[in-house]
Symmetry: C2
Subunit: 597 residues, 2 copies
Amino acid sequence: MEEALSGVKRTLYCGELREEHIGQRVTIMGWVQKQRNKGSLIFLDIRDRKGVVQAVLSQDQATEETFEKASRIRSEYVVAVTGIVKARDGGVNEKLATGGVEVEVQELKILSQAKTPPFQILDEVEVRDELRLKYRYLDLRRPRLQKNLLLRHQVAQSIRNFLNQENFLEIETPMLIKSTPEGARDYLVPSRVHPGEFYALPQSPQMYKQLLMISGFDRYYQIVRCFRDEDLRADRQPEFTQVDMEMSFVEEDDVMDVNERMLAHVFRESAGWEIQLPLPRITWQEAMDRFGSDKPDMRFGMEITDISEVVSHCGFQVFESAVADGGSVRGITAPGCAGMPRKQIDALGEIAKLFKAKGLAWIAFLEDGSVKSPIAKFLTDETVAAIGSAMGAKKGDLCLLCADRNPVVWSVLGNLRLEMGRRLGLTDPEKHAFVWVTDFPMFEYNEEEGRYTAMHHPFTMPREEDLVYLESAPHKVRAKAYDIVLNGVEIGGGSIRIHQRDVQERIFKALGFTMEEAANRFGFFMEAFTYGAPPHGGLAYGFDRLIMLMSGEDSIRDVIAFPKVKDASCLMSGAPDKVDVQQLDELHLAIEQEKTE
Amino acid sequence: MEEALSGVKRTLYCGELREEHIGQRVTIMGWVQKQRNKGSLIFLDIRDRKGVVQAVLSQDQATEETFEKASRIRSEYVVAVTGIVKARDGGVNEKLATGGVEVEVQELKILSQAKTPPFQILDEVEVRDELRLKYRYLDLRRPRLQKNLLLRHQVAQSIRNFLNQENFLEIETPMLIKSTPEGARDYLVPSRVHPGEFYALPQSPQMYKQLLMISGFDRYYQIVRCFRDEDLRADRQPEFTQVDMEMSFVEEDDVMDVNERMLAHVFRESAGWEIQLPLPRITWQEAMDRFGSDKPDMRFGMEITDISEVVSHCGFQVFESAVADGGSVRGITAPGCAGMPRKQIDALGEIAKLFKAKGLAWIAFLEDGSVKSPIAKFLTDETVAAIGSAMGAKKGDLCLLCADRNPVVWSVLGNLRLEMGRRLGLTDPEKHAFVWVTDFPMFEYNEEEGRYTAMHHPFTMPREEDLVYLESAPHKVRAKAYDIVLNGVEIGGGSIRIHQRDVQERIFKALGFTMEEAANRFGFFMEAFTYGAPPHGGLAYGFDRLIMLMSGEDSIRDVIAFPKVKDASCLMSGAPDKVDVQQLDELHLAIEQEKTE
């Protein structure tokens, strides 16, 4: 039933056929998207990576055997067809790039039969995710996923071409490394040769790329798989791909310069976007103050206003105490939203609570000059007017206010700003607002662990002028770190690194390591600094997320060939899975049954 | 003591300085290869990725502070130097590409100090491997290793450029997969979310690339890390890199054609070799018969002659019974070696025994027409003459003979041929003899396991005409498999794959799997064949070995940035290592103490 190729060669792709091929004898191969039997005519829509073309057999012209064979073909059969390209008999099909032509079949081979697939191979068909992922190899036949992986391929090449021209070398770093968890959990790999010992899979090639700088490779990059054993969110995968780079003899400006030129190059080549350089930069402090986020969506304004001074003695206890306690009162002004129904405003209050606000205050400046506000009764008319004036509120506008500790205020207003931006249609997908966020705090205090943790990572260089605070006031130390943000999404981040052993030791101390712990984990790395280490810095992009943004998808699953689901399993292969006892014995491992139950 | 860059920018690399730059003010940065203090002059040889250049300070011209700073500089200090390029005062140094110039230092920064390194950063210095590998980041500063990794980078780009033009897409496949060991041991990765279950790291992306073909991606490639938990030999690493590719709608010729064009392209671009296409092809059977190896070194002849017929009734029991038992008597003729001292011939006999020969027979046809041979006494003069004639031996030649089962005969003579080739200087490193070896046996019998195993892998397509032997005489089945061999080293191998579920099931049966085992391990994969699978095939190269051959190195360690040693450990970082109990608890794992002792 199924036939071998036996020397038959494809002459071009299905999706490449055009009017210019009319009269040529061609051989195409692909999947039958649809077979239509119209009595004396049989139509086959044949699909390959480049598109779909119609083939046709007529009972008069085809041999009986060929016609009979064609009549048996079902969707997703794989066929090879040889025939003459003709102008399409039934008129041009405008929906297809190949719509002006069809192939009049002379020879036909069924290369592979197909059962009825569990779902139709069409972008517009609704299928539950679980089924799609179980039959990922079928879902990947959809034009949209094909297009996404083609884009991914193109962007990878475009990145490499740019970096190659800029004197970067692609160097592979190890995957079986020493476990030095700081931040996320490592995936571990038991060693058979060294029972009881483990490798870790890299969360990033951080130390290795720094060692490459110490080795004098000067400029390094890699498009590299990384691993984090974390509880998965919708946009996370246990294994993910980074575009990772590092440069020697540079300061922040140098890294940002080459990277923004790379972004302009790649987005122009692969997405057709024209990006104006240099990209804007704002400090972390400014980003928090103006947008309530370290990854501000700069496609629209609606910036945050600090009204702490206006209300610090307003008589309203909630406002006054927030300011008195070292926090603040701030707000955003949603233009034209004064008439928003109470129910919707309450819904905004619920969002605010998600981000730890005790409540959301609001003032609607109605068109008729009156004011509607649940807190108006606590404020004088003058204060209300002063708030409106400070916040640039005009008649018809709605002010949303939050009084709390600064981190809560930022988070609440940053998220409300995004919500209002979306509702007001300000998050235009055609706009591409890149921004560098710089001068991140070096540390953030982790309440749970009762210690400072590194906001980027412990190898980040503090600003020289802040080094004096390392021991006395770590929260004041700013890092030479920078994130690149596109439309409110962080697509990459990096820093100038520490290249001095003594500074690195002080950082580990500030992070609560004993010198012994630091030496155990990072000793070999810190020693490297003592043999001549150049100043260096770099950056890493989340490649999956970058492609997701470029392709306009909502999930990184749609830009990864074989993704995993939330519990880190693969619905197609069943990984992870039990293994043979013998395999565990060789590793000297036992599964702790009591804990698994 | 150490200074920051503070805005100083490098204007070009040390190694780039030439006469054309004379008169220019430049800033270079790098490592001090050597500091020479000649009283009123201080010379600094400064090294970066592109080479070494001399900088000079004179006491008259430099400020006191700068001169003093320079006097403190030691080897491997990292410096930034700004100055004027001059013609070299002491005359041209022909050994350096920059030897016509020097930089007269005006400004000098010490960016990083360096302790005395544990060994000198020079290619020609003898250092034990352990020390080099512990301080890999220092060893990597050597020009030779720098050159190797640069070559590796260039070859990777060259491969990608070629494949991109040939319509291949680079697609990433998962690293955390299901364990389906067949052949080598898998590295396992315990799952935290699914206690008692494991991922495996891929030995190759085999099933995934085949699924990509079933998904319609048509042409795939990847330069990808793979893992094998095997006892290491000198040229193996637990993690290694493959150039992996797969094509749909192809037969063997198509895969070989695109690959030999790729090789010609890459070797021309990166090594300057001109490779004549098409490459020669021989079948596995012919390779064994003529060269006693499935990876024949075709740079020289000295082919094997089968003299079984000549000696089948010669009266010498050893020869007669070898033939009668289904084995053979074969030999090679080493030209001009008749006078080889007995001691050396005995050494050859030892080599033969390493490869399981019971002994090595030999006949020396001396220049004076006489014959010297320990077996002459068992043979008639006519038989000796007939052997000499069959083997094309002339006066002065030495015939080495082996009588045994065919696999032993091939292995013994194949290895003696290589040994004699080396001794006679026939393995010219300037010659590049590529050859395709085709039609491998599908199976080889594994005495230990008492079953057939797949010679390539179980997804390899048998020749259609041999399918009838699958159940009755598996050893007769030839596979659509091909290896590409360069100068006696296998650099890549591949095959046309099975794309029919029934054939795949028959192969698993022949390999001794129950249908249940096969379904457990490969069920999802075999099911994919039932939804329309195109004929497909591919090939994979050992990238490390390829670069080793191109760079002329003897060890793959020298072409890998951070290699592991024989016990799969990393001498630099100490991986693998013990991990925190808490990490194991989270994985529900215990180390079996009694087994580790």
